[in-house]
Point group: D2
């Protein structure tokens, strides 16, 4: 099976298994797990922030970060096609009494300055939930893995500053953004008060995410980690895999990006396939079917019969995600399988 | 001062003061206030529902109703230009751990069926907050007091039924909608599981709202009323005014509608004034200024210097609300004041 | 009916009805109700605090005050026999994500310093909800209306200061405490950061409570008032009655206290009646039945057949509450009715 | 270092590391982790319940279980010396709007039937938060690891049934209770609607807990798991260790119990040491110091200088916890260290 469903399906590398096997661990409940502490220091350093915390998932990372930023009753300004808004069960409202305020997501993943500006409610008006934080997503998953321009981020930072608002980055795949723009991740992170990134997607650690930011903020994140039940006892096993992920899996993301472009090129010419965007910034390819009578679900079934798995995030759009388990040959085989499906299906 | 800021500025009538003066009251904490019980029975009957509860405000009415409909973590699907979304401080998220899910509001106050359909998340997907309730607003305040067509409400009801969702009406001004469509309010309310309407807007009671619906639902509303601190001891004073409001102030709303049309006609031709909509369904007139250099704040100040007060709900739009304290002469005087402002202001 | 169920059953005086009849009111949603503003200024002045806010009930007053004191996840340290813990539906947990931490209530309404001290959790330990506020109740309702000694309050204030915690007073009946100790209420309030008192109990206003404290705190209280739906439009009607309550009903509470002592004396010698406490500080008398086979429910029914109503707050204890509608003759008649019940009931 | 601080300090066994090294894993976000599924099936079977869910910690297990049992605003009736009340940051109030209702914990860990009964508030009274669930802890950590009698559990079950309440067991160390009473854990679990037990304490898995119960309940638990960010991607690593824990580490707990008794015997006679309880049911020994001038903190420091670590859960009481890393010789050495401290310290 060539599995392009998501980069979350990545399995840990042999080196990670080895690292877990010999990991030095302790009781993190008493702050005595040396490997956890090493991972948190490494992540903070790589992102150029004062401190970092290991959380169990991207959801938990974003949740703890937003709780740490916003008092009860404040608004989380976020894109309406963001993973945070769509796939995290509204947890900031449930857990923290925060109000989600979605703004339209542009085709390239930006939230327009105008839309952001009108989403910032008047904090002196008691009829309104006051603004609490602005959240960007980079790269933007539902917009095809597009990377936000540095100049745009700078403008949003200025807007946030005007209103005294913190700026959080859902940077689940921030290393993909960094590799794509040939910048160190710390340079992207600089404009943000806090960043969440995932260890278990392209980086292939078993699970977990890191939240990076100033020390007092990270202290609050760790308090919420405990409250959410995310304080892991002998956390060093996961941390050891995370360290391997950060040390060995970042630079090779460039391969995933190259293969995503390759796949886009190979399938872009197939009659009946229309790419959502000609621009492929990172490791994802989104496309639509333009064949009457061929639905996405039927297409996905036919594809899986040819040993290729893809998925769909929203109606009518197919997504293929590249990752370290996919080779150049797999890309060719995938293109062939798509051709085969389109030839086999009645026109 | 001709006060067109809102119909919330209405003062109680002399008959209401008289009713309060002689009101028979008791301790509602022990369910012993006869006048409160009379008001709740009257409201239920008028809206064609099994039972009703008196709440302190429209905010509290909507809040208690939505808490009574939705368990923790469910979504409230609501218009992005609704008063509930914009002016109730996100209270359903803060108090009840509910997730606000705004959908685009059409120019006439409808939420399109397509947009509603895509806002209903897959309840079997643990990544998503499951849908909890759909909320419509009728008449629609921020869309100029427009009244929703019965056929449209019927379609939304069918969509809600398909998904097993309750349908709530923010009917703060439902009697305006009823008068405008020459239907009894119960006929509008019929398609909804629950309705909130206000006593203190066009109906001029000092404050308070009613929530109407099935008895077990109203019992839950009353439990939340107590939890929110909205259980009023000798509530009969307010209830007595509410009874007068329902008995004497409904039919006369037709006058406010007539005067709103009159005002729209009179000012629609003034150069520099553009009506937001040529259609005036109820008691509001929204317009924009088309004079370079004349901002809405400056316009409102100049108007107030001519003893007329209006307000603005969103950038660039002026709102005038008609109510029982405004006469035909006031409408003329208002149009004259606007003319005077536009003549005086530098072109 | 001689109604001793509670002082919440008090009906507004004729002077209050008159004040409501002529009340000058405005739209408090735009901060334009002059009578509301007068009441808030008067309450602040009487309690010696910078500002005050009118809330719909004692529940809402305590709720808004505690939300304004405590961020999400903090503990409310409160007596386990307090009205706040027992009769306010746990609203601070539901609405605000606060944790109720009850401590044992002594027979005289105090919370012992030792018990308070051990209830203050280590705020550096992420396993624990950090302390947020200490709440006292004075007079203490479930402890027979007992008044807290000034020296005790001073000690609690010092403990709170040691830990940097705010101190809130549930002073629903604070004027009873003031009258009982012949001190101005501001002298009692001085040790507290905030005080809630009720207008509708002994003071006989229709409903409502006041929260008093520093201005920035009261601003937060008012924000929560709006969020809870407790922002009342033409609030001046209730405010006008509240002003009469504060101006005319405070000094006469001394009569209620005298009659409570009188009632205690008259019934203390009746065989089969045992007073809970020989000390009557304010307007309540608690007693137990010592007659085999005579249950409290049966006693209350027999009493009501003799036109006297009392109630019970917890198993085995009867409560009688004195208020302005009860005369000296009513006290005699009550004692006679109790004697009659005890004679009639089979021994 | 002989580490008796807690059984959470246990390190995974070599067999667990081996199992993790070769674990078959998949993306649990798509329910494709075979090892996770095996662990959940095994736990359900061992506890005699229909289904089970793996959570990241005991805190998260209890939290998800109580959220799954109780709608918003209900009370969690729980011991005032329970770990859930003292060491889980009040998370059920913060996350779920539930109200914690602590009742006194008896010396042997029971909550008396009388106290439970009076903690069940009248659910028809809107002034009260309605009861939602009763929670027991077995063995009882803060009461020295005492095991609840089966007859007592049966009585609580009957009380719960009378009131239609679910009964949850915080059985973090339920296998210790099972071993101590020579019963299968399913026999203890039978009386409960749901059980949480820990994999990372005596059983020595790296981290995690299991919640067992009926399938629809476990489905709700899994939904909350996702919401809390506890959905772990390639969860099979931890699950593989958990399976080894359940298969290899349960029966040997009898050794920890034998050594706890041994330690109690050895130190019970040391002058200056007083055991909290002569009864040692499981793997813990609690004792007090009866030497003037020797404080617990000083004692713990002196002990650590002799390479023995213990801890304290509440003022004046020392706790030693036995686990698989502690041998008979360690017990002797520990007793000697204590003797040495008491001899060295000034009398
Ligand atoms: Ca992965
Ligand atoms: Ca009004
Ligand atoms: Ca025009
Ligand atoms: Ca009263
Ligand atoms: Ca006696
Ligand atoms: Ca362990």
């Amino acid at each position: 099976m060539i599995d392009l469903l998501s980069d979350t399906v990545t399995l840990p590398t042999q080196e990670m298994r080895q690292a877990m096997f010999v990991a030095e661990v302790g009781d993190a409940g008493y702050d005595e797990d040396p490997t956890l502490n090493r991972l948190e220091a490494l992540a903070a350093e790589m992102l150029g922030k004062e401190d970092a915390a290991f959380l169990s998932s991207g959801c938990q990372g974003n949740l703890a970060a937003l709780l740490a930023h916003c008092p009860r009753g404040h608004e989380v300004i976020v894109g309406d096609r963001s993973d945070l808004y769509d796939f995290e069960a509204g947890s900031v409202s449930v857990v923290g009494g925060l109000v989600l305020h979605p703004v339209p997501t542009e085709a390239d993943g930006r939230l327009s300055l105008d839309n952001l500006r009108s989403a910032i409610r008047d904090k002196s008006d008691y009829q309104c939930a006051p603004p609490g934080v602005i959240v960007l997503e980079n790269p933007h998953c539902q917009r095809g893995g597009r990377v936000l321009p540095a100049s745009y981020i700078k403008e949003v930072r200025e807007l946030a500053d005007e209103h005294g608002l913190p700026l959080h980055l859902d940077g689940a795949r921030i290393f993909n953004a960094a590799i794509a723009s040939t910048k160190p991740p710390a340079e992207i992170a600089e404009a943000f008060d806090s960043i969440m990134f995932s260890l278990s997607k392209g980086l292939a650690a078993p699970f977990g995410s890191m939240v990076c930011g100033p020390r007092p903020f990270i202290d609050r994140v760790k308090r919420y980690r405990k409250l959410l039940g995310g304080g892991l006892r002998q956390a060093g096993f996961m941390a050891s895999a995370g360290i391997v992920a950060l040390e060995t899996m970042v630079d090779r993301l460039v391969e995933d990006h190259r293969r995503a472009k390759l796949l886009a090129e190979e399938i872009g010419d197939i009659p009946g396939i229309r790419l959502e965007s000609p621009v492929i910034d990172t490791n994802m390819v989104f496309f639509r079917l333009e064949r009457d009578g061929l639905s996405v679900p039927n297409f996905l079934v036919a594809l899986s019969q040819r040993d290729v798995r893809m998925g769909t995030l929203r109606e009518g759009v197919v997504r293929a995600v590249l990752h370290y388990l996919i080779s150049d040959d797999d890309v060719d085989a995938t293109a062939n399988a798509i051709r085969s499906v389109l030839q086999a299906e009645p026109r």
